[in-house]
Point group: C2
DNA sequence: CTGTTAGCGCCTTCAT
DNA sequence: ATGAAGGCGCTAACAG
């Protein structure tokens, strides 16, 4: 019952050639209207469906694009993917998902697998920077497959990127803490080999300097993006001779951990201690003590990445377009860092 | 620089036939060891990569599987997808993502698009039941493409499914509310055309009956899965002559809305009013007033769906395997429904 | 307007 | 152990 109908089947039935059927189905201008309609009708009748694989082999374009993310079950990446899918859907592209789990080896494998699968483009957020994978990236470029980085970028010639201004994000959120009267502001950072974390840190530091607050490296702790890590970080910070009175975390989860730990120690938030996170995860808004956070507009980031891809695809191979889109971060001020009446 | 290397290129270089190269690369037993090694070496040297599209066209198997979900940016679906991807990755399958946005028309389009793309299987969560799409489902089966439903299922012959026992989920969560001494338990439900919501409701009702509590249909409100909908539902319920003293919501978001509305009315949770949700969204655990919820083990659901697919793929076309896997729901009791000391 | 031919890259009988 | 030839399904010259 599998009944794979090909253009040959319908050609045979009509006593014409497969080529004619192909042309008719593709609405070629040089085909008699009557036969075109006839072909179309019998095609529908027989339940004909074009074989995209054959088309792909013939044209060299699969109409698939690959998306590589650390993990798909994070609100941020899932939203980006949603944006990508929505933007590409009307153009007939399908989205292939790969996860690296922050493992460079997996990233490498994924890159090669997608190239093998003849995807028409790759949109990705790099995992921690390791130059071992450079070969894989260059391989992608060598095949003339458009490569676009979103959020977590990497400096490679000929590669476009869509990011947010992380420096500014770090700056404005720190500024807000300063505005609340905080004097000793700590920072929970992420893997410094990733641009995003370095830039958030730099924004934080600049905001301090610009406002006459001395930068103290003891206030900067590098930790994972987890509740547990946030708790541990607070524990360390509170043991300093001058413990901080505020914290800007590059991760909402770590910010949450910090809040939990502070509460357990009966430290009043935001009166005694202000907290702010980054990413605007859904839960930051839902909490009774809602958490100030920087939104990265993931949906827009996904859409934009897809648009950049669409611009690049099909362009002459010789010219490499390199587009750097930088979206504006948006500060969502909430209770965790608002000392005045809310 | 695109340099698409084919087996012909490497054959030419070695003055042998493409067929020999093919055999050598595929480790055919009837090939001289020396030539096999020679071929392998030069293949590596030239940077040969097999063209999966050609392979797919030849074999009829694309090594892609399609996953259709209402939306990808929900913790539940994202986790299922993660499970699917993790399980299928070692087997060389790639995952193509489609979103329906709860639109049956999109669901229909997605089904056809995936078949056109020659996927080797389709794993999906159906959107609201509409029999208009039956043609699309039957079309999938006719092509002998394994179809597996997860979470939101649909009764079709020859289709396997992986779900949780929603009836039991509704039952145990309601029982927990009863155990807390609640007498007037309301229920926020979802689209009743979906089995999952009907079953959660039936479990709820059965728990009431089994514990001598009269079922009151005025306590059942159908609403969307959103904070706003939860607020509205509470408003309606509190206007009843005997307002409820507890609520079991089929959606965590609606449960959250309910809690917010109750707080605004200064109704004490859980002392005066108990609340429980469904899905175990991350935020239910993070809240200061953590929310009792039923976990659906999405990761496991994804993995299991993938395993069921792997079992079915490649089986003789004539025999239709129909497997119904039902996972156990897991009640996470939290503050919102715990009157005794926590 | 339509038929013929060739080829995308690979595998697989059928010979040798 | 290897070469030759055909075909997966479709399109795109090149004829007529």
């Amino acid at each position: 019952m599998s009944e794979k109908i090909t253009i040959y089947d319908i050609a045979k039935r009509l006593n014409i050639t497969a080529a004619t059927v192909s042309r008719a189905l593709n609405k070629s201008p040089k085909i008699k209207k009557s036969t075109r309609e006839l072909v179309q009708e019998t095609a529908d009748l027989m339940g004909y469906k074009p074989n995209k694989l054959a088309l792909a082999l013939k044209s060299g374009r699969s109409n698939n694009i690959g998306v590589i993310v650390p993990r798909v079950d994070s609100n941020f990446f899932a939203s980006v993917i949603r944006g990508i899918e929505e933007e590409l859907y009307p153009h007939g592209y399908q989205v292939i998902i790969c996860q690296t789990h922050e493992d460079p080896k997996r990233e490498n494998e994924n890159l090669y697998a997608l190239i093998d699968a003849q995807v028409d483009g790759i949109l990705m957020s790099v995992t921690a920077v390791n130059n071992e994978n450079d070969g894989a990236f260059l391989n992608v470029l060598k095949k003339n497959v458009p490569l676009i980085f979103f959020d977590r970028s990497k400096l490679i010639d000929g590669v476009s990127s869509v990011t947010i201004n992380d420096f500014k994000g770090g700056y404005i959120v720190t500024k807000q803490l300063i505005n609340q009267g905080c004097k000793y502001i700590a920072h929970l950072s992420g893997d410094q080999s990733l641009e995003i974390f370095k830039n958030r840190f730099l924004g934080y530091r600049q905001a301090l300097v610009d406002n006459g607050i001395p930068y103290n490296e003891k206030y900067v702790i590098q930790c994972k993006s987890s509740v547990e890590a946030g708790k541990n970080a607070i524990t360390i910070l509170l043991e300093l001779e001058t413990p901080p009175d505020a914290i800007f975390s590059s991760s909402d989860f770590a910010a949450l951990g910090a809040i939990q730990e502070l509460k357990e120690r009966n430290i009043n938030i935001p009166q005694e201690f202000c907290v702010a996170g980054f990413s605007n995860e859904p839960f930051t808004k839902f909490m009774e003590l809602s958490i100030t956070s920087v939104d990265q507009s993931p949906l827009e980031m996904g859409r934009m990445s897809a648009r950049v891809f669409l611009e690049q695809v099909g362009k002459t191979d010789t010219i490499k377009i390199e587009k750097k889109v930088v979206l504006a971060p948006e500060l969502h001020i909430r209770k965790s860092s608002t000392r005045t009446a809310f």
